[in-house]
Structure formats: C-alpha cells, structure tokens
Amino acid sequence: MSVAAPVETITVKVDGVALAVPKTMPDPMTGKPIPTTMIQACALAKVDVPHYCYHPKLPVAGNCRMCLVEFGTPALGPDRKPIMNPDGTPKVAKSPRPAIACATPISPGMEIYTSTPGAKQMREAVLEFLLVNHPLDCPICDQAGECKLQEYSVEYGQSRSGFIEEKVHKPKRVDLGPRIVLDAERCILCTRCIRFTRDIANDDALGIINRGSYSELTRYPGKRFDNNYTLNTVDICPVGALTSKDFRFQMRVWFLKETRSVCTSCATNCSIVIGSREEQVLRYEPRENDAVNACWMCDYGRLNYKWINREDRLQTVRPRTWTAALKEISDLLGKAAPGSVAIVASARQTNEELWLLSTLAQKFNALTDSVPRSGEGDRLLLNADRNPNSTGARLVGIAPPVLGSNLPKIADAIESGRVKTLIVFGEDVTKHGIRVDKLETLIVSDILPNATTAAAHYLLPGCAHAEKRGTFTNIKGRVQKFMKAVEPKGDARPEWEFLHELVYNVTGQNGYVTIEGLFNQMAKEVPAFEGMTWAGLADTGAQARI
C-alpha cells in the first residue's frame, strides 16, 4: 500500500501471518489517533472477525462478545527481557484469557488467533446464547437474507441447541417513531442504534430498560424516535429488530438488484445503493464513502425516491418521434441568430448534460442559468442547497456563481423579444417569472409534467438518475458517478444521449459515443475536472478543483 505519510507500525501476527500495522488509527468520533485494535489489525490482514456490536464508525461497546479471540504476547523472563525459543525467535506466551478484538489494543509481537478451537468454541457459545431467546421468525422477518445472526449462525454456529425453557417475551411491532418499527424480541441488544443516534445524530433518543435477559430497547418515554437520521439504525441493526416502515414487507432482499448510485436530494450527494426489482425502485441505502457520507444518509434523502415510480411520468416525445423532433430542433437551432436563444438548465442534471448544454450555449452566446433550490440544512449531511449538482452547473459554466441571478435577465430578454427560443431542462420556468407564451419556440426536457412542459413546442422526456449513468459534483467538489438501476419509462431517453446528438447536429462537435467517452472529453475541456477519467472515479469519486 502506498500511503503518503509514513506512520509508525507494529508487527503482529494474525493467524500465523505476520504483518506491519499502524500503531494508531483515527478515533471514529474525534479523528484523534488512538491505539490500533486487534479487529483493525485483523481487517488489514484480511481476516474477518465476526462481530455484532462493533461498527467501525461508532464508539466501541464491547458487549456482544462475538469477536472474542485468543492471543499471545512475547513472554518475558524475571528480568523483563523476552524469552527466546531455541531457534532464536521470541517465545510467545498464550494468554489464559481471551480478549475482545474490537477493544483490545495490539502490542509489538502480539499473535492473534481467530480460528483456534478455543476461539471457535467461544463464538459457538455466544451464538447459542443469542439464539436462546430469539424468536427465530426468519420466514417473516425483513432482515432475512442480510441478517448477521443468520449469516454467523451458518458460518460459526451449531445446528442445534439444547435450550428447552420458555423464551423471554418482549414487545413486538413497537412504533418507535414515524419511520421505525421495533421488534424487541429479535433485538440482540448490541446498542449500535443507541450509539448511532446519541453520538452521530446527536439525538439521545434510545436506551435500554430492565435488566438481564429482560433488557429491552426502547425510546425515551414520551419521545418519538424522530430525527432526520433514524433509518440509519435500520441499516446498522445486525438483525431484524429495527425495520423501516417504508420498506418492510415490500420485498425479500435477495430479489433486489443493487446498483451503485448517488442521492439527489441535496448538494451532499451521499453515496447510495439503489435496491430495485422489476424496474421499480424499492429502497435507497447509504454506501460507505469516507469522502462524502461515511456510512450514513438522511431519512429525507432516503425516502425521496417515489417520484421515480410515479404514474404520470412523461413518456412521450412531442411532436411525433425522437428522430423527427431532434431533426426539427437541430434545423431550428442551426438557423438561430446569436443572442436569440436562452437556456435554463437544471442543477439536478449531470455534469455531462450540463457541459453539453454549455457547449450549445457557446454557439449562440446564449443567456444561461439554472434554478436554485434550498431548504434547511443540518450539521451532519443534509445541505441547505437542495440541488444535487449546483457545483457542477457552476463549474461547466451553465450557471452563474449565484444560481438564479440570470433568470430575471432571461425573463426580460423574452419579454422584450430578443430571445425567441428557450431551452428548458427539468424546471418549471413559469414559476420563475418567465412568460413562455412570448416565445417563438419552447424546447423542454423533463421527467414529470408541469406548466412549462404543457406549453412546450418540443417535449423530450428525460430520465431519472436511476435510469441512466452520469456524474454529479457535490458541494465540496467531490465528483461521483452513478449507474443505471432501472429502464427509462416509455420513450424517455437519457438526456446526455439526445443532447450529444443535438450538439453534433448544431456544432459539429463529436468524439464520443459512450458516457465514458463523454465524461473523459469533458474532463479534458473543463479545468476543474482536469485529469479525471470515468474509470478513475471508481466507487467513491474524485475531487474537482473548486
């Protein structure tokens, strides 16, 4: 690994394989360096230590005892000097007691044994304990298929238990808040949700009541579990105790197609996975990306996907066909005089689409802008800028530094008749003081119907991000790509495809036939994206110069 800053390392052995690991790792909460733990060393050694309560982004709790391992340290003689084996290697004394890998710091010469009979036996026992009071209702549990209790039981557990007593019964279908349902019997009391909401979401809303086996997760009396990050607890719940009201009973998870994508609900651009089935988007889940959202996303963004499946999506080209419409538009634009065309793009469009539009704009010296969209932000992930790509719109030059500041100029130019043709993407300009009835030609591409689409002379149905590929640039300049999860509705086509055709027809520019080629071309021409390639964006993106 080529890490820039050399860090002090400690050599340890994980299951017999020696490796040097950093002496410290950042604290998940404060970022300060703290001693590297066994589980981190094992992860670096690519050895999986099963665990429930441990989560790399949360404070350590150490309560599930699933990550118990055996270990040894160099034996010291009475003179505090290492005792040597006959072959000259230091003698390692195996500790009589095991240790939890999640909380035990490594030390020089330590040997960690994750797969000894002793370690396996401890895991087996922990799993048996976890299952004695578990309802074993996998056939009706939403977590089935992505349940750590199931997975570890198969991998490390026994096939049977001697338990014959009555199980402990606890509340079922507990309404914790507007988006979360708890089944307290399924809960294994790992406290991940408690730590998340207290330490990450800053809302100390959950806790445990009662003692021993009767311990029960609950919300504080009289308080709903209702912050904008509650659904993350469903993700990190290793079992089916916390379920999402939105997703529960909708689909068996093994039927879901998973697609890497990006959330479009604000300028943060949280990395997500779209779960879809038979061309229907069924859920968003956050995808780990330390440069953007760690492992989290907000509830608002997560649940803002239903418009993709809406019945009234625009599906028909107007007039007639794509071929006819694009030909007519190309001819029209080809004859248009400089200054007679204006473009209102949308900061919900991709970098590539916005760049193609700015290429068109240059041809006519067109007035351009896009529409700002804002709401209340928070200190965690939700940004006040509710457009996913305001940064991209600025970087490619389609939007001025202050989004929307050109809109009055465009309105005036239309009013005065200087602008005769308006190209609108994804916005209802009638809400922004623009009188579309004054135009000779209104060319509109959108996803859902509105007053502007109704008035359009040419209507080009576009795609949701889930139906195409492309990139966004977030508020901090992180450029991320997203993949296609579902097919476009009806005749709808990805905007970059038909925009590319228009640009070729109008300006003669070409050189790419794929999204990869288009992105790479843009990266060559837009200084902020210099050096980037589609492939180089990989899963977590790259940093633009902003």
Partner: protein, 458 residues
C-alpha cells in the same frame, strides 16, 4: 484457642458507643497523617508525606476486602498521577454479595472510622473530592454517614484547609438504586455518573487511568479504607505482623446459614480455620442439634462451594476443606475464594438443588444484561433450576447446566459477574451431581418446601 481480634470492630457494639463524633473522638490518625513531613531517603531524594503513607500501605501488605483481594498498595500505584486531571477516590459501600454484612456494621455503628480512613487515603493520593457509593437499601446508613460527614466538616476534619494543613477534601454520599452490579467498580462509576450501571470494558477503562468522569480513580471497599487508618496508626510493618504472610491484617468474616451463632467476627487473616469459624464457640458455635454439615460457601454466594468432607490440596498438603486457614491464598489454592469474607453454612437439611436455584435466581435477576453470555446464560440456568425444583427435571439436566455455566466465565464477559453467576452452578453441580441427577429419576416431584422467593417470569 482461636480468638477474635477486633481492630476495625474495636468500638462496634461496645456498650455506650454511638455513631457520633463524640464517641469516636478527634481524628488523631488523620492529624498524624497530615503532619507527616518530608523524609530524606538514603539516596538523598526526599519523599513527601503522602508518598510515605502510600509506602506504608504497600509495606502493610493490605489486600482489598471487597472480594478480589487485590493488593491495595499496588492498586494505588497504578493511579495515573501525571495526567493533570483530578484524582477521585470512591468508597465502595455497595455491599451486595449475599452473605455479606460487614461494611454495614462499620457504616451504621462507627461511620467516623470510615471517614477518617477515607480522608487519610485521599490525602495519600492527592484526592480532593471523594464519594461514598452506598447501596440503596442502606437508607439509614446514608443518613448516618451524612450526619457524620456534617460533624466532621464542623470540626474541619473535612472541607477547606483541613486542620490548618492546607489540604482540602470534600466527601459526598451517593445512594445506589438497588443493583448488585453497581458493586463492580466500573459499573459503580457509571452509576455515579448518572448512567445505567453497566460495567465498562477493560481495556481501555481501567479506573486508575480512565475512571470517574474519565479521570484517574481509586475504588476501595469500606473495610479496606478503615484498615488504612490502622496502618497509618500502627505503621505498615506492625500491621503486617497481624495475620499471615501475604495475608496480613485482620478481616471481618460474616458467618450465616445453619450455625448456632451467626454473625460478624473479626479475625487475624489466616489465623483461624474454616472449621473453627463454624464450630468454635467464639464464632459460629457449631450446627444445630442432630445436624451434620453438608456444604460451605467460603466467600459470598458467588464463591465455589465446598462439600463437607472434601479434601483439598494446598501447597502439596492434602487437607479437609474445614482445616483451611481462612485467608486469601489458601482458599484460592483450594479452588474457591474468600471473596467478601462471607461464610454460608449449609447442613444436611439443605436441598442442594433448591439452594442453587435460589442463588441462580439472584444472579439472573442481577445480571445487568449488557454482554451476551451473562445476560442470556444467567437466566437460562435459573429457568432450568426452577424447572428442576418444580418437578420437571430431566435426565441430562446436570450436564445441561454445566454446558451453560462453562460458556460464561473465563474472560468471556465484560466483568466478573460472569464468574459470579457460573461458579456456583459449576461447583454445586460438579460436587453434588448425584442430587441433580436424582431430580430427574422417575419424576422426583417438586421440592417439599418451595423456599424460593419469586419465580422468574417466562
């Protein structure tokens, strides 16, 4: 003739002696401690008063009286004195181990001895704020302590500039809410901080480094802190002459169960055998007429039981468990522990299965529920035993119980409660297996007397 040696209990139960400062008198030993001047050592370095006291405690060989028997001097030496953070001292007065009622005598009958011991320990460790964490059930004890603290404050034995020495100390009483686990030092600290009494994981939260409010903290038992007073009074070397090597001083033994004279007795550690403690007229004074001994729990209900007639091996010497000197090391060598100094005696009228069911139910009720093996295992064992005492024993139940109990202790849990709940099961079932097996034979039916307080809910 074995005798009591009353050092800490010297004034307890003395006719006319009350919990007041008037009875106790001035804090003479505290004065002595505060007046300890710097000493020049052979190598020319000087050692300040507090450090000298710490050395005396090390020299005394004092071992913690709470249950683990860990060296007090060593515990104090682990305290991080360079962190720049305040050092706290907590007196663990959560006395909860079934069979134990020694600290209660001190708190109720001689509270000033504890406060003086604490003040000296605090001075020795540069502590300016200390707490007494007292179990919730000791309502009157908390009142008595608060009254005593007020008296001590009035006399400037506490507060600012104590007796003109320039040393400040404040002590507060904090009542628990009725949880055994808050006697575990890190559970106690969490509780004192106002949270659930969940023991902390160690590493990293060793109290000596990251204790109360993440500051270095000393947690000592009531009796231990009283012993500190006597160590400073008589000198560490003199204290070490009491008792036996590595088991120095006196300790209070609580004898309960089927003896004619149950009670608390202070002995020189290791100078009296278990047999003497049970049968000698100075102590338990034997069993009831016509009864024979069946079992002894030597150190509170979590200690492993000894079976009557059991032969144990200590230092290559085989002896009857009754002939074990009552100290830390011998009883540990014999496979159990002297724990909190509570001897529970069971005669042949005892139904051993029911006795274990009772113990197991206590631990199932008191498990904090934080970590998996203890949370699930403690109730599982209790339910199985409940079933057996209710006449539904099965053939394999003894092994079934051992299977559960073997999967809890040995570092698998966050705190020693894992041991506390599984050792009784391991030892009762291991040593009286025939009685557990007999439960299953031909439907033994429920026990004659249903003595168990409450049944676990299902």
């Amino acid at each position: 003739m074995p005798q009591e040696h009353r050092l800490i209990l010297k004034n307890v139960d003395r006719p006319g002696y009350t919990a007041s400062l008037e009875s106790y008198g001035d804090y003479a030993v505290l004065k002595k401690a505060l007046a300890t001047g710097p000493k020049t050592l052979a190598d020319g370095k000087t050692m300040k008063g507090p450090e000298q006291i710490r050395e005396e405690v090390k020299l005394s060989g004092l071992r913690g009286r709470g249950g683990a028997g860990f060296s007090c001097g060593l515990k104090w030496s682990f305290v991080d004195r360079k962190s720049g953070k305040p050092i706290y001292l907590i007196c663990n007065a959560d006395e909860s181990e079934p069979g134990t009622f020694k600290d209660k005598q001190i708190i109720y009958k001689d509270p000033h001895q504890l406060i003086e011991g604490m003040a000296i320990a605090c001075y020795a460790n540069d502590v300016h704020l200390a707490y007494i964490y007292i179990r919730g059930e000791f309502v009157e004890g908390a009142r008595i302590l608060n009254r005593a603290l007020a008296e001590a404050r009035r006399k400037n034995f506490l507060g600012k500039n104590i007796l003109g020495s320039g040393y400040d100390l404040e002590i507060h009483v904090h009542r628990g809410a009725g949880a055994y686990i808050c006697g575990e030092e890190t559970g106690l600290i969490e509780s004192l901080e106002g949270k659930r009494g969940y023991p902390r994981i160690k590493p990293p939260y060793f109290p000596a480094v990251l204790g109360l409010y993440m500051c270095p903290t000393i947690v000592n038992n009531v009796e231990t802190l009283c012993a500190v007073k006597h160590i400073v009074d008589m000198g560490g070397a003199e204290f070490a002459k009491l008792g036996t090597p590595n088991n120095t001083g006196t300790r209070i033994v609580c004898i309960s169960g089927h003896v004619r004279k149950p009670g608390y007795y202070e002995i020189q550690v290791g100078k009296v055998t278990i047999r003497e403690l049970i049968f000698d007229p100075s102590f338990g004074n034997g069993l009831n007429e016509g009864r024979s001994l069946k079992a002894v729990i030597p150190g509170g209900s979590s200690a492993k039981v000894f079976k009557a007639g059991e032969k144990v091996k200590v230092k290559d010497r085989e002896l009857d468990m009754l002939d074990l000197p009552y100290d830390f090391d011998s009883i540990m060598a014999a496979g159990s522990m002297s724990g909190s100094g509570a001897i529970i005696v069971m005669d042949d009228s005892t139904d051993i299965v029911e006795a274990l069911a009772n113990v197991a139910e206590f631990y199932a009720h008191e498990s904090c529920g934080q970590c998996t093996p203890c949370r699930e295992g403690s109730l599982w064992m209790s339910k199985a035993l409940q079933r057996m005492t209710h006449g539904d024993g099965r053939k394999g139940d003894a092994d079934y119980l051992l299977h559960i109990a073997d999967n809890i202790p040995g570092g698998r849990t966050i705190c020693a409660f894992g041991e506390a709940c599984s050792w009784p099961v391991q030892s009762f079932v291991g040593k009286f297996k025939d009685e557990f097996v007999a439960r299953a034979a031909g439907g033994a039916g429920p026990t004659k007397e249903m003595k168990i307080a409450a049944s676990p809910e299902s």
